[in-house]
Amino acid sequence: MIEVRGLSKSYGSTKAVDDITFTVHEGSVTGFLGPNGAGKSTTMRMIMGLDRPDAGTATVNGRPFAEHASPLTEVGALLDAKAAAPGRSARDHLRMLAATHGIPSTRVDEVIEVTGLSSVRRKRVGGFSLGMGQRLGIATALLGDPKTLILDEPVNGLDPDGVLWVRTLAKDLAAQGRTVFLSSHLMSEVALTADRVIVIGRGRILADATTDEFVAGASGTSVRVRTPDAERFAGLLAEKGGEATRPEPNVLRVTGLDVAAVGACAAAGGVELQELVAEGSTLEAAYMQLTADSVEYTTGHTSTTEGDVA
């Protein structure tokens, strides 16, 4: 379990993290979602005791990270895939970390195997591709068979196979009762992996809910209907609790009812439909809407969805 209470951190006059409070529970995958520069990495570094908070506390499994007698078996972290000396082999990198906890080299070989690095274990890390570096970072996080995993953008640079494997891994680890906290700037990635989602923008928590709640709550789903009988149908929909606007004479945009309910209402009322479409609200759209005011850098034009590069 990770508990963050009133955490704040400024760099100069920039507030990277502004009085945030949240809890990440064991047994589930929690996504930490936000645009680049929203404060995700800063928060994770503070949880790991790498950056000093200006205010607030962060504990992992009940105490500040640095106070654990066996840090690597408590928390495994992937914070920066490039964080390895280029001249050292992948195996030596893991061996020296394993040695600090008396972890046997059989475990080093296990995590090398499972992350798919066996063929490059003796190669110097300096020659690694981004994806291989990412795999080494994941191997590092898994080394101590930790109770809690903190993974900053774990699928960054991975090929599709790797992305799929990381999703499965995260779910497996959570199913074993571990705490899995992973960040992403891609809503789609989090939606596919996480049970819960914490959204951060400009250093503040914008949402903290289950993924399903987040989708339902933030989406504001609407249904688009084309019908020659628009006025009468709007009245029928209102009786069922729907709210309709009429952007065109023959078109209604209905909120408060889903597609099935709108269709049933039309059938019951004998209304002729020429078109019936669920509109707009993908997860991506919900996320964009939520963080629209909090992105650090925006492009000149307004895009409706973030590029799905995962």
Partner: protein, 269 residues
């Protein structure tokens, strides 16, 4: 006893896995051993210590050379070679920041005092072993040089005892100083420049001046205070009592790493 899941993730029996002082030292030992520059610096240190020690003692006239003179000549290489150890120790710290490795290292060893102490134990161990090997090498060459000349170099002589005990301690303190500056400065360029200046370069430059304040500064530099540990006078001599010089070199060896621990606790990694 590892069970696998659909991702193939192997669970482990973590009984006995814990961060201890010994484990942390072992981790740092692997880290410094697998630094690519380490063997080269070790080789350079030995070459300088043995080479300069042997050639210096060989240059003396067997007819007039004193035991004090010989002991000082044996240690001649250390004056230059100390820079190599200081640089190795500084790099053992700055290499953490050069690559971002420090954020991984502090995830395994989050206690800053343990992090620095484990590094210190390793650089001290390396310095002590290399210094003893280097001095013994220089001594062996000198034995050959003076064989049959009637000049003996008896290791039981207190002069040599000072040298073989004090030399390693001197080098150990130089290395912890280098480590401390490495942790404080984080940049290889800044730390290496600083320790090389402090250890052999500045004392040589300052020896050319006889102004009182500069003489005092020179005497307080680590390379000038250190030879007191070996019962020797530094380049240009020293007016400080032996006890004061020893205190000075101990402070050089202890204060920078302590300051390094404090700085690690205060600053972001």
């Amino acid at each position: 006893m590892s069970a696998t899941t659909t991702s193939g993730y192997p669970t482990a029996d973590t009984t006995g896995w814990a961060l201890t002082f010994g484990h942390a030292v072992r981790g740092e030992w692997i880290k410094i051993r697998t630094m690519r520059i380490t063997p080269w610096l070790a080789l350079a240190f030995l070459a300088i210590t043995v080479g300069m020690g042997a050639s210096s003692s060989a240059g003396a006239d067997p007819a007039v050379v004193t035991q004090e003179d010989l002991a000082t000549r044996l240690a001649a290489g250390l004056f230059v070679a100390q820079a190599v150890l200081a640089v190795l120790a500084a790099l053992s710290a700055t290499s953490e920041w050069a690559t971002g490795l420090v954020r991984v290292s502090l995830t395994a060893v989050p206690r800053r005092s343990l992090f620095v102490t484990a590094k210190a134990v390793v650089v001290v161990g390396i310095s002590v072993v290399l210094t003893i090997v280097g001095l013994v090498g220089a001594w062996a060459f000198s034995l050959v040089r003076y064989s049959g000349s009637g000049t003996t170099m008896d290791l039981a002589d207190p002069l040599y005892l000072w040298l073989f005990l004090g030399g390693p301690v001197f080098m150990a303190l130089i290395s912890t100083m280098g480590l401390g500056f490495g942790v404080l400065m984080r940049s290889a360029g800044a730390a290496v420049t600083t320790v090389v200046a402090l250890a052999p370069v500045l004392p040589v430059i300052l020896a050319a001046f006889s102004v009182d304040v500069i003489v005092t500064i020179r005497e307080l530099l680590p390379a000038s205070a250190g030879p007191a540990l070996m019962g020797q006078q530094p380049l240009g001599g020293s007016s400080l009592p032996v006890a004061v010089s020893i205190l000075v070199i101990v402070l050089w060896g202890v204060v920078p790493p302590l300051a390094g621990v404090l700085s690690l606790r205060r600053r972001d990694a």
